[in-house]
Amino acid sequence: MTAALFVPCYVDQFYPHVAVAALTVLERLGVQVDVPEGAACCGQPSANAGFGRDGHSTIERFVDVYARYERIIVLSGSCAVHVRLHAGEVVAHGGRSDDAGAHVAERTTEFCSYLHDEIGVGLVALLGAKFDGCAAVHIGCHGLRGLGLAKPSELQEQPFDKVRALLGTVRGLELVDLARPDECCGFGGTFSVGEPAVSVKMGRDRLRDFTSHDTQAVVSTDMSCLMHLDGLARRERLRLPMYHVAEVLAGTARAR
């Protein structure tokens, strides 16, 4: 089985080391993985901005490129949710079959989900990652509530947390309990520029929750959240390194 790794546009352009880390982790775990070219985006940014129609060609492209894979591992919770919810709307056209969209929607997963559900924490532990320090976990809201990466604080169900389970394999890593475990960081795609006042306030409040718990690093499932949080932290001259889970598992993350 060949899996595909989808590297979202902003990760490709701004955080190539995160994609390298993810690829390294998957390869070390024995996953045969391709990073096919031809689809730079899943269509989520335009759809969330209300331009779903205009962005439809983008997700069509995504379906065309990824339809031949058994597993599509997306390096972002929010992109993964978008594909899972909307790839099924793509209809047959040209060489594209009737069920290509549904096939892609169904087989799309997110990096942490994939490691937890299909590789297993036991194998992930064999990566032998180390991290000396205290970190806060920030699960992107779409991954949290849309993919079920952890039990959201609103729901009254049995607690579980796939991201913490993965990070539990990392030696030396201590995870802090935040005052608001899953409050949104305020990025929200175009929300970050359309509603700058609230977006910035939300991000600063999130940072305050991190720093008031002696956090030495932030670990997230989504680089889009981190682009926003890290941008705010650096402007405030806050030394708070931020990493994707893949970097921690690959052993390339360091505490402050």
């Binding site: 955080y15 335009s46 209300g50």
Partner: protein, 473 residues
């Protein structure tokens, strides 16, 4: 009932709501924003505790949702059943297609009875209909008796929250308002003392009232009765003292059976305030002896929303306010920034259906974090509906030209890998070689408060081509 020749405008003008600007103004006072956020978060925490104490919480939510969906998909039958049972209970039933008709009906009832002094308990519907100014313009004294509503009424403001109408105000501001209007000592700001002053002031009004108006939390088709929930007892004082009782209700508030009340009353207060139940859950199945009891069933856009395949489930709402308390945007922008009686996530899915252009900004006043959907006791997919309203807003052209150009060109970019690589390379280089202030200027408004990512030398794609030459293209 006679039609008046000149009707006063009851709804706000057509000016589009600028949520971002109102939110920016709200955030100018950081300490106050923090205080507002914390106050509402505390309610959310109380809700979590109350919900956790009910082992079958998620099953209750699922049942509440199913009952509402069933009721809404058989609404005509249940409305007719409710009407006939209410009539049999000795109530009078009126129907209003819109806000104006509702206001005329209410005024007509008061006018015929010669009522001059109306005490009201909380009714978001009458806020939505602009009833108070309508009646005041016709010489009727209208007193809102819910403490929070009375506070904002004295200040000539609208409520900023459907359950906590004065949550945006500090006790000192309430003290000033009461000093001015109720004659409390200047500087008095102790909540107990202020509430005591309001109690005395309003007790007089209750005793002097010649009519009362309440909302309904639930109207029960099976019995033709209704339930009103309050903590203060204000609805009950009005109902037990005034010779005329008018109960206004949106048609979506009908539930089929008495046993359904158990499901909804178990969820309502726990979701809204974290109480196990409100202090009073009053069941009315007929007028007191000698009392006139009128029910006004109001559409005002609800049948239009019911017809919208993508949005009809928003009518399941039981007005608990939980989506406001949990919404990270609402908590940091305040209820008034939404420009409508019902703010927050539920307001942002109800308003575009009333006036898409005016409320075009509201579906975008969200990060789509989904907390509202997870907290909603009747499982309305609020974030999904916000997403779908965004598509409608853009398709209707209620979006700035700049944003439109930006989104469309980004789509073009994403669909042309080579172009995307080129643009990415240029942007990365630009970020690296431009002086920082200039780069920030180019990236406004992102960079007003945030640094841009440090641009790497090469994209992942470039790295991949070099390091995994056999990798699939």
């Amino acid at each position: 009932m006679t039609r008046r020749a000149v009707e006063l405008p009851v709804l706000a003008p057509h000016d589009p709501v600028d949520h971002a600007a109102a939110a920016a103004a709200f955030n100018a006072d950081v300490a106050r924003t923090d205080w507002h956020d914390e106050a509402l978060w505390f309610v959310r925490v109380k809700r979590d505790r109350a919900a956790a104490a009910v082992p079958e919480w998620e099953a209750l939510r699922a049942r509440a949702s199913a009952i509402k969906e069933h009721a809404l998909t058989h609404l005509d039958e249940y409305l007719v059943q409710f009407e006939s049972n209410a009539l049999a209970n000795g109530m009078r039933v009126h129907w209003a297609r819109d806000a104006d008709e509702h206001n005329r009906i209410v005024h007509g009832i008061l006018d015929r009875a010669g009522s001059q002094r109306l005490v009201k308990s909380k009714s978001m519907l009458t806020e939505e209909c602009g009833l108070n100014p309508y009646l005041e313009a016709r010489g009727i004294e209208v007193i809102d008796t819910d403490l929070g509503e009375r506070i904002v009424q004295l200040r000539r403001e609208g409520p900023s929250h459907i359950v906590l109408p004065a949550i945006h105000l500090k006790k000192e501001e309430v003290g000033d308002t009461f000093h001015e209007h109720l004659g409390t000592p200047a500087g008095l700001s102790d909540p107990t003392a202020l509430a005591g002053a309001a109690r005395e002031h309003l007790r007089e009004r209750f005793l002097a009232a010649d009519a009362t108006l309440t909302g309904m939390n639930f109207a029960v088709a099976e019995t033709g009765g209704f339930v009103v929930c309050t903590n203060e007892g204000n609805a009950d004082l009005g109902m037990v003292l005034a010779p005329i009782h008018i109960a206004s209700v949106g048609i979506e508030k009908i539930i089929p059976r008495v046993e359904d009340l158990a499901v909804f009353l178990r969820l309502l207060a726990r979701s809204g305030t974290g109480q196990a139940v409100t202090v009073y859950s009053s069941h009315v199945h007929g007028p007191r002896s000698g009392q006139e009891l009128h029910i006004v069933l109001v559409d005002n856009g609800r049948t239009k929303q019911l017809a919208r395949e993508e949005f009809w489930t928003s009518l399941k709402c039981i007005r608990c306010g939980a989506c406001m308390n949990t919404c990270p945007v609402y908590r940091r922008s305040g209820g008034h920034s939404y420009g409508f009686t019902v703010p927050g996530p539920i307001g942002s899915v109800l308003t575009p259906g009333l006036d898409l252009e005016k409320y075009a900004a509201l579906p975008f006043a969200s990060t789509l974090c989904g907390s509202c959907t997870a907290v909603c006791p009747v499982k309305i997919d609020l974030d999904g509906q916000l997403f779908r309203w965004r598509q409608r807003v853009v398709q209707a052209g209620h979006v700035s030209a700049a944003k439109s150009v930006a989104m469309k060109s980004s789509v073009r970019l994403f669909n042309h890998p080579r172009l995307f690589r080129l643009a990415g390379a240029l942007a990365r280089r630009g970020l690296r070689i431009l002086p920082r202030p200039l780069a920030r200027l180019a990236a406004r408004p992102w960079a007003r408060a945030r640094e841009l990512p440090a641009p790497p030398a090469q994209s992942f794609r470039a790295w991949y081509r070099k390091n995994r030459p056999g990798g699939d293209r």
